[in-house]
């Protein structure tokens, strides 16, 4: 049975499944959905976060904050997402994540795609954690955090690093605590079809992130993962370099790093990379976000990491450098914050 079949099988079994325990972002989850992108937990905690099916029509009325949108309803301790054709999700008070599928055509895989990223991200925010758009990787017991909004190349770069002996800590969203520790989170890399092809992966054997998408999930079976919180050693915000067709610079395919941002620039940049500024604000938690982002900006220099635009070039650019040591990278002059 191939991986794709195994996952379909798991999806079908979920209908009758009992609850399973996982750990993510430093808290334990008890879920009625199978979540292969999370680390299985053997510990038993008295009050895990409950992920459970629910009837959204029974949810209490919410007076949404004016930061709400048509799909996202926000209030104190409340985050609700309604996606037409997919389903409804509700995170409340950092304790429960409820979901209801739109109709029977919606698979568990569809549900968990949004429950695990947006849903658990919202739960983590409600629990007072600093949640950033970023992918964290580990080597030698130290973590590197690659910040960047979707489609900036975090997963491709992380996959290239995993091929070089690094381990994945968390992808898409990453939690950094007040001690500068990075917590294991979502352990799945999502690669688009063109990236998978260029990286030499047989995408026909990979499960799509969701049915019909040409975007594939690399789960812990394919990706070495770290299972313990680890100290953050380097912090970067990713930038894609536009390839210059006329460039004769032999170093054009290299990764480059900027000088550290000023603390004020770093704070603004971290705030912009939060998952999501709107979510924090809409739940009345923005002050905490600034305190946590400020503490991180003081603790750890933030640099821009410019990566080549091409997927092959990105992998080649890692030769001879060490992301744990920014000094090993070529300097990127004149780069400021993205604030």
């Amino acid at each position: 049975m191939g991986l794709r079949d195994r996952l379909e099988h798991v999806d079908r079994r979920d209908l009758m499944a009992t609850k399973k325990s996982y750990s993510v972002f430093g808290f334990q989850v008890s879920s009625d959905l199978t979540l292969p992108e999370l680390a299985v937990s053997q510990r038993v905690e008295p009050s895990p976060v409950n992920i459970q099916a629910a009837e959204q029509s029974q949810w209490p009325l919410l007076e949404p904050s004016h930061h709400s949108t048509q799909t996202l309803q926000l209030g104190a301790g409340e985050w609700r997402l309604g996606l037409e054709g997919i389903g409804w999700f509700r995170a409340s008070n950092g304790q429960t994540l409820e979901w209801q599928r739109w109709d029977d055509s919606v698979s568990d895989r569809d549900v968990r795609t949004f429950a695990v990223t947006s849903g658990l991200g919202a739960v983590a925010v409600q629990r007072g954690l600093l949640v950033l758009h970023g992918t964290a990787v580990e080597r030698g017991g130290q973590a590197v955090l690659l910040l960047g909004h979707p489609a900036t190349g975090k997963s491709t770069l992380a996959w290239c690093l995993v091929q070089r002996g690094w381990r994945l800590l968390s992808s898409e969203l990453t939690v950094v605590d007040g001690m500068g520790m990075v917590w294991p989170g979502i352990q799945q890399l999502k690669l688009w079809n063109d990236a998978a092809e260029r990286l030499g992966l047989d995408w026909t054997q990979l499960p799509p992130v969701r049915r019909g998408l040409k975007r594939y999930a690399l789960l812990p079976q394919e990706v070495a993962c770290a299972e313990q919180p680890l100290p953050l050693r380097s912090l970067y915000v990713l930038r894609r370099r536009k390839p210059q067709a006329t460039s004769t610079d032999h170093a054009d395919g290299q990764l480059r790093v900027s000088d550290p941002f000023s603390q004020q620039q770093a704070l603004l940049s971290l705030r912009n990379q939060a998952f999501q500024a709107r979510v924090y604000r809409g739940m009345g938690l923005e002050a905490g976000l600034f305190v946590q982002a400020g503490a991180l900006a003081r603790r750890m220099p933030l640099r821009a990491l410019q990566v080549p635009d091409g997927i092959t070039a990105m992998g080649n650019g890692l030769e001879g450098i060490d992301l744990l040591d920014p000094a090993s990278l070529l300097s990127l002059k004149g780069e400021g914050s993205d604030g």
Binding site: T69, G85, A277, R278
Partner: protein, 291 residues
């Protein structure tokens, strides 16, 4: 001035004068002292000041509005949601109220719904340019052959970022044939429309840009409009582009964003057969707008 939450779309097929309009708006606001950001009091900086608003297809903006990673949605899921993105008074950052959009008003995947938010929107400026000239400009911009550009203008499936095999900073933007694109905006009944032609921007500048300023509830003082127009002439924009070492919106391989700006290049550079192909495919709409 308009209320602080009002916003408009600047809708056009690519390479039809949209950026010129945005630069003009920025310059008019700068000259009239109504810019909200920090701007150079002496001169417009193309790469710093041109923050008239997010393009409606910005993935970052959509993700923020929808609360999910839009890479996890297929076209048939995303397009119907796009019009719902932004139905709040906090739609756009303060001062960023003029939003470029290259999408057709609806897409084949949007279930008949507009792909842009209507709530709070005060209208759409629809910018047209002769399709022969669009073909030449597209050719320089993307490095495509003229024949490919002619075929693109006639392609009912034409889109920007059309490939579903990779992500990007912008989502797929369905445009369809040039005439379908134009009519999708001009004939929709949900937003007030001001139609302006690129050719009139060139030859009847004060009148055309004055109408633009009035529609967008910007200052309409004749001297200000003329000064903003003079400061954003194609010659001036070419000089400004050189000064900033390349306009940030210029794609890979494109030598310069602001190139000639002339009208009539299509008639000079397209073959008779190519011109006939465009005329045959787009005749009704071209005639309607005096082409």
């Amino acid at each position: 001035m308009a209320d602080s939450n009002a916003y408009w779309y600047l809708a056009s097929y690519p390479k039809s004068g949209n950026t010129w309009c945005r630069v003009f708006i920025t310059e008019l606001m700068r000259l009239s002292g109504s810019s909200s950001g920090e701007t150079d009091p002496q001169e417009l900086n193309l790469n710093w000041d041109l923050n008239t608003g997010a393009i409606a297809s910005s993935r970052l903006w959509l993700d923020d509005q929808l609360g999910v990673n839009s890479c996890d949605l297929g076209f048939a899921e995303l397009d119907p949601l796009r019009g719902a993105a932004g139905g709040s008074a906090w739609l756009f950052a303060e001062g960023e109220r003029y939003h470029k959009v290259h999408d057709a008003f609806r897409s084949p995947d949007s279930r008949g719904r507009p792909v842009v938010s209507l709530e709070g929107c005060h209208g759409a400026v629809v910018i047209l340019r002769h399709p022969e000239d669009v073909a030449v400009s597209l050719s320089h911009f993307y490095g495509w052959s003229l024949q490919r550009c002619v075929a693109f203008l006639l392609d009912p499936e034409a889109a920007l970022v059309p490939d579903d095999r990779h992500g990007g900073q912008q989502v797929r933007q369905h445009m369809g044939r040039w005439d379908q694109h134009v009519m999708s905006w001009v004939d929709q009944q949900l937003l007030p429309v001001l139609v302006i032609r690129y050719e009139d921007m060139l030859t009847k500048g004060p009148e055309t840009f004055g109408a633009l300023a009035a529609f967008l509830q910007l200052p309409t003082d004749g001297d200000l409009v003329e000064q903003a127009l003079a400061n954003t002439s194609i010659g001036r924009l070419k000089a400004l582009e050189e000064k900033v070492g390349g306009f940030a919106e210029k794609p890979q391989g494109c030598e310069r964003f602001f190139r000639s700006g002339r009208s009539g290049e299509g008639a000079e550079q397209l073959s008779l057969e190519q011109r006939e192909q465009l005329a045959a495919g787009l005749a009704a709409t071209m005639e309607r707008f005096g082409y």
